[in-house]
Amino acid sequence: MSSNISSEKTNESSTVSQVDPDYQKEIFLKQLGEHVYQQNMKKINAEFFNVTYGSFVRTLIDFYDSDADKCNEKLKAMGESIGSRLIDDFYSKVTNQIPRCSNLKDLGNTIAYVGFKMYINTVPRVIFDETNRTIKFRFESNANIFNKFVELPDDIKEKKLYYSNIVSGIIKAALAGIALNCDVEFISDTLLDDQYTDIQISNVTRIKDEVPMGQ
């Protein structure tokens, strides 16, 4: 990804050059995420954010008479309209430090170490599946900040409402903004008594016609 930056860095610090390039990329992305989060992001109180999002989901559930499928769809649609705006914000904040992703591993690492770090200050574990060509973001029990304070009632839990489904919409639309087509879905959630919260990205394809001229 950022070959020339990382090579310059190793020259400056005169470390041993036999380091795995993938590992170097990861380190670079982690540092970049931390840096952007510290310098460029405006912060609000996390509890205020939790309460706002909670009341908003609660209103949605009331509106659809606790129909979990419709709520999931609506949350995803809202996320998509957020994501199509957020991709511009993302790239103007990281100021061209990272190019367009060229393989799946890069894509996963960039979203996890820079994207999630910048916007919700948690870094999920990235599980890259070579055979099925999928990426999973795994949040440990309490790492997903959307789920803090939340305990779903039994009837909604049975219907499988994914409480933070807005995230999947955001990722899908943000990737659509840089000409990548993909499916994003929640496959498990700690609120539904699963062990982890997993978000899965699959079927990533590049749409050549949507790449802007000149790139």
Binding site: M1, N4, Q39, N40, K208, Q215
Partner: protein, 221 residues
């Protein structure tokens, strides 16, 4: 007085924002002409993608070669990583002229605090910005009377600034300026929930004021 006007063009070639910094322009050019100018510049930009030198072709994702046109969608490939390793270095110019900023000026202080492109610590070698995005097409048109500079963001929004010849601005400085405009655009305009994406920006006073202040701070007017 070197910057004449600033245009923002969306993905499909429509003019979504323009601001003139010279009063004489508005007397002579009406908004319809501005629309035509914008789409002409957009199509010139698009056409130049077909005359990319052979050396650069493997780096470009959007290069239009009618002979080797494969199917439309391709899977994100692990092997073609070298395609993306073509960084262009741009010298970093900080926001100039801090003299005329008084402590009372809210907009100027906000700009200094919030504009992303201020922080040099984000760049690893402190002097250069690395621009990966634009491989082919136009960056600079040099004519006898006017200079036209282009900057395209990764999502395809084009920023065009037209300036006269009184001062030699250079591509690097204008790229930095337009990156700041991009950061303002994504901050002030796109985060407005009542703005619909890809539509013209109308009556956004905050954006107007910030652009004006940014241009004054950059010493371009």
């Amino acid at each position: 007085m070197s910057l004449e006007s600033l245009l923002i063009i969306n993905k499909s070639g429509g003019l979504i924002y323009n601001k003139n910094f010279n009063d004489n322009i508005e007397k002579n050019i009406n908004s319809n002409d501005m629309l035509i100018l914008a789409s002409t510049l957009h199509s010139a930009f698009t056409l130049t993608n077909c005359i990319l030198p052979e050396v650069l072709q493997k780096y470009s994702e959007s290069y239009n070669d009618s002979k080797e046109r494969k199917e439309n969608e391709e899977e994100l490939d692990v092997t073609d990583s070298e395609r993306n390793k073509f960084p262009i270095k741009v010298k970093y110019y900080p926001i100039g002229n801090k003299v005329n900023i008084t402590t009372n000026n809210m907009i100027a202080n906000e700009l200094l605090r919030e504009t992303t492109m201020i922080g040099t610590e984000l760049f690893y070698n402190k002097k250069d910005i690395i621009d990966y995005e634009q491989v082919s097409c136009i960056r600079h048109i040099d004519s006898d009377v006017l200079d036209v500079y282009f900057y395209q963001s990764i999502t395809g929004i084009k920023f065009i600034s037209i300036s006269n010849k009184k001062e030699n601005l250079g591509v690097d400085r204008m790229t930095c300026f337009m990156m700041r405009v991009y950061s303002l655009f994504s901050d002030v305009v796109l985060k407005n929930p009542f703005y619909s994406v890809e539509m013209p920006i109308r009556k956004n006073k905050l954006f107007d004021d910030k652009i004006q202040m940014l241009v004054e701070m950059e010493n371009l007017v």
